[in-house]
């Protein structure tokens, strides 16, 4: 269990590590690492591997919006059914059930503001059980998944010291 946690922690920070590297770092057999990774993938504990990208820096001017959605829960399934439906739209990046003044927090990423507006008016707001939406546009990113977008803390140590 401890080894699994360590593998997950390492992947969370750096998904490019090879099983071989992990085996060396953790001082265990490479085959054991491979088997555990396969198991974690099959159990959908590891859902996938992706990179954290500063798209804006690369030149992409896409728009990200966070939409607060109020929903009428359904008998027997509560919020799950509607949340799963919303999740299936490809422009939706994240869906969370929230405590507080609204129910679902939906993060969408589109090419431009018009596309966000169209998604809300055509697809999201028209769903049965959706009562209202409030949309917030992301203006600038500072940190995502533990990575600072503009990290000034480069290595400033003396190159040689006792």
């Amino acid at each position: 269990m401890d080894l699994e946690r360590k593998i997950l922690k390492l992947y969370e920070k750096n998904a490019t590590l090879s099983p071989r590297q992990m085996a060396t770092m953790l001082g265990v057999d490479e085959e054991e690492i491979r088997a555990l990774i396969t198991k974690l993938e099959q159990e959908k504990i590891i859902l996938g591997y992706n990179a954290i990208i500063n798209w804006e820096k690369w030149g992409d001017n896409g728009v990200t919006a966070m939409i607060d959605v109020k929903v009428t829960p359904e008998r027997e399934v509560g919020f799950d059914s509607i949340a799963e439906r919303v999740s299936r739209f490809p422009e939706v990046r994240c869906v969370y059930l929230m405590s507080g003044t609204y129910d679902l927090s939906v993060v969408v990423q589109c090419e431009n503001m018009k596309d966000v507006a169209r998604f809300i008016s055509d697809k999201l707001a028209t769903l049965d059980h959706v009562q209202s939406t409030v949309t917030h546009f992301v203006l600038k990113r500072y940190k995502q998944d533990n990575f600072l977008f503009d990290d000034p803390e480069e290595d400033r140590r003396l190159v040689v010291s006792p």
Binding site: D155, V160, P162
Partner: protein, 391 residues
């Protein structure tokens, strides 16, 4: 007044500048270097500690503190020493907060040493014990340690070097530069000799949290040793706080009192902002510190496996963040190896002889570097070793 050297004191003239300096200049002039030559964490001080310092400045904590250091900090240190190592110190008169362990080493030596007294120093070890002894008008006596014995100090070597003038034994474990440690059993073997010869121990335990596969043992925790030992520790390595210059000494009130006298006339107190940050480190810094230590441990395994693959012999260091591989396969001296490696492959390491004569034939490689840097450095060193392997 052309030659002012004659005006300088004999003691200062008799010590050489740190051997690392020359090499530092050389490395600084070279572009694209991967440095395994550093002696500090590659992490920046955890944010909550830095933030605590800002907050204290905002609140106007910009004044002197008591000579011993802030009472809250001494209480935190006492609690840490008790929970970490099972040693009880009274924050009122057994703990002194210093400007890094470096100051504490100097204070301890000057408090104990009379002209001609001998200070026993295992080597290879950190560069300041011997010059510090000379500046206190004492005589450094170097104790040899070897790779075969994982650079531990043996009772035989200690006993062989003792004379009627022996007064102080420095115990720098976990060790810089070798990464060697002294476990409880290793320390126990020294206790009788120390007590029989009435030695005082300066135990520099700055790397104590960076101990792998087990917990650090302090000689002060052994029976009969508490009052004979000055434990030196600080925040630089465990909490990645090198630039804050904050450390401490724990020991018998007579010795701490003597050290405090020198401290009050020379340093007055450690900077209050660093003391404030240190309080935060001890109160809330442990989880992040454990993470950093785990990370060092990962890299330790990577670099050791790397050395094995490229054919450099290296004993498994169980402390600090240094490895000390032998470069015997190349037939070069430490300095030659380090210079050539820098010129040909742009990897900076520190020649082992900078830490004492027993370090000749070894290099110090610090693994407080990113995984990528370590892997790249190993690849470059691999090419270098293959090219220069002794025929």
């Amino acid at each position: 007044m052309n030659n002012l050297t004659r005006h300088l004191s004999r003691a200062v003239n008799s010590i050489a500048p740190s051997g690392i300096r020359k090499f530092f200049d050389l490395v600084s002039q070279t572009q694209g270097v991967i440095s395994l030559g550093v002696g500090e964490p590659d992490f920046v001080t955890p944010w909550h500690i830095r933030e605590a310092c800002y907050y204290s400045l905002e609140k106007g904590y910009t004044m002197y503190t008591s000579n011993l250091g802030l009472p809250e900090l001494r209480e935190e240190i006492a609690a840490y020493m008790l929970r970490g190592f099972g040693i009880e110190y009274d924050p009122a008169d057994e703990i002194l907060v210093t400007v890094g362990v470096s100051e504490a080493v100097d204070l301890a030596l000057r408090s104990l040493v009379d002209p001609g007294d001998e200070v026993l120093i295992p080597e290879p070890s950190y560069v300041s014990y011997a010059p510090g002894t000379v500046l206190a008008y004492g005589k450094p006596v170097l104790l040899q340690t070897t790779a075969d014995n994982e650079f531990r100090l043996t009772p035989e070597e200690l006993a062989a070097r003792i004379t009627p003038r022996s007064k102080v034994l420095v115990l720098p474990y976990p060790n810089n530069p070798t990464g060697g440690i002294m476990g409880r059993e290793d320390l126990t073997k020294l206790v009788d000799i120390i007590i029989d010869n009435d030695l005082i121990v300066i135990s520099d335990e700055i790397y104590c949290e960076l101990t792998y596969n087990g917990r650090h043992a302090s000689i002060a925790a052994l029976p009969g040793m508490r009052d004979r030992t000055i434990v030196l520790n600080g925040f630089s390595k465990a909490f990645a706080m090198t630039g804050w210059r904050i450390g401490y000494a724990c020991g018998n009130p007579a010795i701490i009192g003597a050290m405090t006298k020198i401290h009050q006339y020379t340093m007055l107190c450690a900077p209050i902002m660093s003391q404030m940050a240190a309080i935060e480190a001890l109160r809330h810094g442990e989880p992040r510190m454990r993470e950093m230590v785990e990370e060092y441990d990962y890299r330790r395994r990577v670099i050791l496996k790397g050395f094995a693959e490229i054919g450099l012999d290296c004993f498994e260091p169980k402390g600090a963040f240094y490895t000390f591989p032998s470069i015997q396969v190349t037939g070069m001296t430490s300095e030659e190896f380090a210079e050539k490696l820098l010129m040909e492959e742009k990897v900076a390491v520190v020649p082992g002889n900078a830490f004492g004569p027993s370090g000749e034939g070894f290099i110090r490689c610090c693994y407080a570097a990113s995984l990528k840097q370590i892997e790249e450095a190993i690849e470059r060193m691999g090419r270098f070793v293959t090219r220069h392997r002794k025929k």
